[in-house]
C-alpha cells in the first residue's frame, strides 16, 4: 500500500492534487489507517497517470471521470471512447480558430498604432477598442 506522499512522488504530482482528484471523484484511497491517513493500492499509480495523460489531451476532470466510468462499463466499446476523443478534437479545433481570430484582431490594432510618445488619450488602439464599430471584429 502507498501513502499519499509515496503516491504523489510516484505520480510526480502534489498531495494536494491527489486530494483534489478525490474530491472530484477520480481517485479514492483503498483504505485508511487507524489514524486516518489515506492508503492507496498499486493500481492508483496507473490511475493517476491516466488522469494526467487525459488532462494533457485537453479532457476536463468531469470528462475524465466519464472516461474512467466508460472503462468499467459492461456495454461500452472502443468506439465510445473514440467518439469522445473526436468530440474533444472538435472542441480544440474550435478554440484554436477562436484564438486565431483574436490574434488577427490584435494584428489589426497593432498595425493601426504607430507607437511613439503620443498621450494615451490619442492612442489608436484604445480608441479602436472603444469604438462602436470594431474594425478588428470583421477580420
Amino acid at each position: 500500500m502507498l501513502t499519499i506522499g509515496k503516491l504523489a512522488k510516484a505520480g510526480d504530482i502534489s498531495p494536494d492534487a491527489l486530494r483534489y482528484y478525490e474530491r472530484e471523484g477520480l481517485l479514492a484511497p483503498a483504505s485508511k489507517t487507524d489514524s486516518g491517513y489515506r492508503l492507496y493500492g498499486e493500481d492508483a499509480v496507473r490511475r493517476v497517470r491516466f488522469i494526467q495523460h487525459a488532462q494533457a489531451c485537453g479532457f476536463t476532470l468531469a470528462e475524465i471521470r466519464d472516461l474512467l466510468h466508460l472503462r468499467q462499463a459492461d456495454g461500452a466499446c472502443c468506439d465510445d471512447v473514440k467518439s469522445r476523443a473526436i468530440e474533444k478534437k472538435l472542441q480544440l479545433a474550435a478554440k484554436i480558430r477562436a484564438i486565431q481570430k483574436m490574434s488577427a484582431a490584435l494584428d489589426v490594432l497593432i498595425a493601426e498604432c504607430a507607437g511613439g510618445s503620443l498621450p494615451v488619450d490619442d492612442c489608436p488602439i484604445l480608441a479602436a477598442l472603444e469604438a462602436v464599430s470594431f474594425e478588428a471584429e470583421r477580420t
Binding site: S83, I86, L90, A93, A94
Partner: protein, 88 residues
C-alpha cells in the same frame, strides 16, 4: 435544401438512425443529402460550430446537435420549405 449529417465512424447511434432520416428527408423535393465523417472534414464541422456528434445541419446552419427523430427533421424541413415559399 442541403442536409449535412456529421458523424464519427463506428457510431452505432448514427448507423441505426441515418437510413430512416435520409429516407424521410428525400420525400421532400430538392433535398441534397451529405454524410460527413468529421475525421475527413474537420474544418467544415468547425465552420458550422459542431461540438458534439452526431449533429445535423440544414443549408449550412447547425440545427440539431443530437440526432433528431424523423418527425423533428421532417417538421424542420417543412418549416424551411414554407419560409422559402412565402419569400418567393
Amino acid at each position: 435544401m442541403k442536409i449535412e449529417l456529421f458523424f464519427t465512424p463506428g457510431c452505432a447511434k448514427c448507423a441505426g438512425a441515418t437510413t430512416a432520416l435520409k429516407a424521410a428527408a428525400e420525400t421532400m423535393p430538392g433535398i441534397e443529402w451529405r454524410e460527413v465523417n468529421v475525421l475527413d472534414d474537420l474544418d467544415r464541422a468547425v465552420d458550422l460550430g459542431v461540438l458534439t456528434l452526431p449533429a445535423l445541419a440544414v443549408d449550412g446552419e447547425l440545427v440539431f446537435t443530437t440526432l433528431p427523430t424523423v418527425e423533428q427533421l421532417v417538421a424542420e424541413l417543412r418549416r424551411r420549405d414554407g419560409e422559402r415559399g412565402d419569400g418567393a
